[in-house]
């Protein structure tokens, strides 16, 4: 057994453990699940559903993050070849990172990294 077949075996085991735990809990629990409870609101009742278009204030941060995340896709394979590809690979990668950091600096100056 090797590689991803071991991963598959472990995943199977994880599912079995989870199912076993839930099954055990079902056997020993003191009561069947309580349904349709109100959410905890300090003792008050909700007046509307909590699920809503949540106003996240870090949209801009998300955008910069995506730029870096794309860069990561290149950087993982880059680690494997950097010593054989030589100085060129290092220069290219870090110039690229430098350009991204310039973007971060701009976003920082614009206040995108602090949203209170």
């Amino acid at each position: 057994m090797s590689g991803f077949s071991a991963v598959a075996a472990l995943f199977g085991l994880a599912v079995v453990i989870a199912a076993g735990t839930y099954g055990l809990a079902r056997l020993v629990t003191v009561a069947p699940p309580a349904t349709d409870l109100g959410p905890f609101l300090s003792g008050h009742e909700p007046v509307e559903h909590a699920v809503s278009r949540f106003h996240v204030r870090w949209y801009t941060l998300t955008m910069i993050y995506l730029a870096f995340e794309m860069e990561m896709l290149f950087m993982y394979p880059w680690t494997l070849v950097v010593s054989s590809a030589g100085a060129g690979a290092v220069i290219e990668m870090f110039v690229f990172l430098g350009i991204l950091l310039a973007g971060v600096t701009y976003a920082w100056r614009e206040g995108a990294l602090r949203w209170a």
Binding site: F4, V7, A34
Partner: protein, 307 residues
């Protein structure tokens, strides 16, 4: 890729469960010390077991108009992703699967918690939970990039993404000695990805438990147990990445791995109690303006060394 015996698949969850229980007990010891009460050692050792028993017998609950499927998927993803992330952990020389892309695999599994915590927060249709779930996404945006640069730094030094290869590359000098920044950032992000203190805002007391606010019974066990498991796995990963894996004098490699893992965990759990909860609206700035440039600099230095 070496063949690994089937028993390692069975041993891994057992070892992790024991270490996780130990982590909970150690945290309970620290909590007891703060209160000035002198709990007996046997009582403290019982804490994780009592918690499990308590959550097994407790009633499960669902809220009005909850999205049950999403909610439970999120809850169960946390422990399963944590366990799957652990496949690449070498115990001594043996990992369940020493994948060629081990570091990326670990990264991918650990990042599943973003989705998991958000789903667990959205599911119960409760304002506090929902806010907790979103808090974790914001947290991810702050810790993840420094974390990935730290991973990449170690991989660059070894010239491989295979965790076993990274350990072999440290047979002489441990990576922590010449990439301390990456190591420290890794420890920070280990706490952050498991939303452990001081990064516990997603399940913070100020939100009545945040993403975990509406969880009870075995669901709570899966979610919060999975979170502790993730902390253990993340801390254990620091050992092959930076602390030389099983390398060390006298003791056998598997024992060295365990000793180092426990030391890293103890440090994280102890440090977590030394700081108040860090809010992302403040920390994101620090992460992006200080930690990311520092880790990039660290990666640059390492890249220049391996040239």
């Amino acid at each position: 890729m070496t063949e690994v015996p089937l028993w390692s698949v069975l041993v891994l969850p057992a070892v992790l469960a024991v270490i996780t229980a130990g982590t909970i007990a150690f945290d309970a010891v620290l909590a007891a010390r703060a209160t000035g009460a002198t709990g007996s050692p046997s009582q403290t050792a019982m804490v994780p077991l009592r918690e499990v028993a308590r959550l097994l017998v407790a009633q499960r609950r669902t809220t009005v108009a909850a999205d049950g499927v999403l909610w439970r998927t999120g809850v169960l993803t946390v422990p399963i992703a944590a366990l799957l992330a652990a496949v690449v952990l070498p115990l001594g020389g043996v990992a369940v699967a020493d994948l060629a892309v081990g570091v990326v695999w670990f990264n991918a599994m650990e990042i599943l918690t973003w989705a998991a915590v958000w789903m667990a927060g959205w599911g119960p249709n409760s304002a506090f939970s929902l806010t907790g779930g979103y808090r974790f996404v914001a947290q991810g945006l702050a810790y993840e990039l420094p974390h990935m640069f730290a991973l990449i730094t170690a991989a660059t030094a070894a010239g491989t993404l295979r965790v076993g290869g990274i350990v072999e590359a440290q047979s002489g000098l441990w990576f922590v000695t010449w990439m301390p920044v990456a190591f420290v950032v890794y420890l920070l992000s280990a706490a952050a990805m498991a939303f452990w203190g001081p990064f516990d805002a997603p399940v913070g007391g100020d939100l009545a438990g945040g993403a975990a606010a509406e969880l009870s019974g075995v669901d709570r066990l899966a979610f919060l147990g999975g979170r502790r498991l993730l902390l253990v796995v993340a801390a254990a990963m620091a050992v092959p990445l930076f602390l030389g894996g099983g390398n060390g004098p006298l003791l056998p490699p598997w024992l060295w791995t365990l000793v180092k893992t426990v030391a890293v965990l103890a440090a994280i759990v102890w440090l977590a109690r030394r700081f108040p909860t860090v809010r992302m609206e403040r920390f994101a700035e620090f992460a992006w303006v200080v930690l990311i440039p520092l880790t990039i600099l660290q990666a640059l230095i390492v890249a220049l060394v391996v040239l």
